[in-house]
Assembly symmetry: none
């Protein structure tokens, strides 16, 4: 899973640079980010290019910019849950369409330091990862990515998710009653090649990323429109107690 640098556009490199700073903790919520002119000198680009990187990250909810003040890392905490995800399978059924799904990935892997901190587990402990495409009348409509803490749901990998959606299974086995709050920050970039194939045939692909950690469930949704391949649309961030 490569993140670019080589042939990627200049503005994308700057975005990745800033995202990396945030992911490693070099920049924390509230910290001031390099100004446009600083980035101009640092990356030898024009101001409009540096500006595009900052503006897009602002649109994605990562940064906050204020005229006269500067650019800051957005505070991802604090937001309570207010939304809940509807079950995609139910929704498609209600619409009178046929629902089908395809499993792309289903694996266990040790949590990196970054993931461990984010999901509230120890570094190296097992995280389950799954990636499933949900189709409406055969057309890919939603790409679902889930990270599930092994401590919480040890049998996650053994389930047959073509029969029962992960959402249904997790609701049954790991109900959460308290409305806990969690932090979810910036999304690492997707494996884009895999996404592009699906976007070809989908009118508009919804990308949802679910994370089950010790404290609750976090979901992030984004939309990909055709012709908008590298730029992902606005994202939604919320936290849902099951």
């Amino acid at each position: 899973m490569k993140t670019s640098t080589a042939n990627a556009p200049a503005y994308a490199n700057i975005k990745n640079h800033l995202l990396h700073q945030i992911e490693t903790g070099e920049l924390k919520p509230g910290d001031k980010v390099a100004s446009e002119n600083t980035l101009v000198n640092q990356f030898s680009v024009s101001r409009m290019t540096a500006r595009r990187a900052l503006t897009e990250l602002q649109d994605e909810g990562v940064l906050i910019r204020t005229q006269g003040l500067g650019t800051f890392v957005a505070d991802q905490k604090a937001s309570g849950s207010m939304l809940e995800i509807r079950n995609i399978a139910d929704e498609i059924s209600e619409r009178g369409h046929s629902y089908s799904s395809r499993i792309l990935n289903l694996e266990a892997r040790p949590a990196s330091g970054y993931e461990a901190a984010r999901f509230g587990v120890q570094e190296g402990s097992t995280l389950f990862f799954s990636r499933i495409v949900h189709c409406d009348n055969g057309t890919p409509l939603q790409l679902e990515e889930r990270w599930v803490s092994a401590e919480r749901v040890p049998d996650y990998l053994q389930q047959d998710f073509s029969q029962q959606t992960p959402n249904a299974y997790l609701s049954q086995v790991a109900p959460l009653t308290e409305a806990d709050h969690m932090v979810e920050a910036v999304l690492p970039s997707h494996d884009q090649a895999q996404l592009l194939d699906m976007v070809e045939t989908a009118p508009c692909l919804q990308v949802i990323r679910h994370t089950y950690s010790r404290n609750g469930m976090i979901s992030l949704a984004r939309l990909i429109h055709p012709g908008n391949r590298y730029r992902l649309g606005g994202h939604i961030q919320f936290n849902t107690p099951l």
Copy 2:
């Protein structure tokens, strides 16, 4: 509440022009939109300015752009709703906290041309507007703004929203069964001074804007973080059939 044209930035005028074309049906989903160069001549702006209007509308899901082909009106029907708003009062109760609310505004006013086009009513027809703060243990947590079409819910202003939330009332009186779709574009800016007072005492204020139009309900949610006073964080755009 003014809608631009005069002192608004050029790119905003172009956006409104295109949105108006879509709202009036002059441009239908799938139709080809004026190219960048066409807009350059039409509005006497530079290509970068015309481009900004088109790009932002693409990010907002209104348009679809493809290199070499052109710009087209997006099909809003393709992506189904997937989210629903939880009742803030219920949520706070479930959390074991005390819920209270305060009404800031409650008024009827004629729809401006801009609002009329957006909400699907005639210019000058009555729109109800309310603004309510929902508090969790006395702390302002959510600012709710609603525009309600008078045609749809004539008695909106007569309700006692300290007893029953607008959401509960509207669900009861104006249920929508079809999953209609609508476009909501740019948010006009808030009355900022009023917001700032609340942000002072709130850890993170959720701003939700509900719009009941002829076709359905649109909700836009944004977060205000402390230290993020003037610029509101990323916004959420979705459409919920009740």
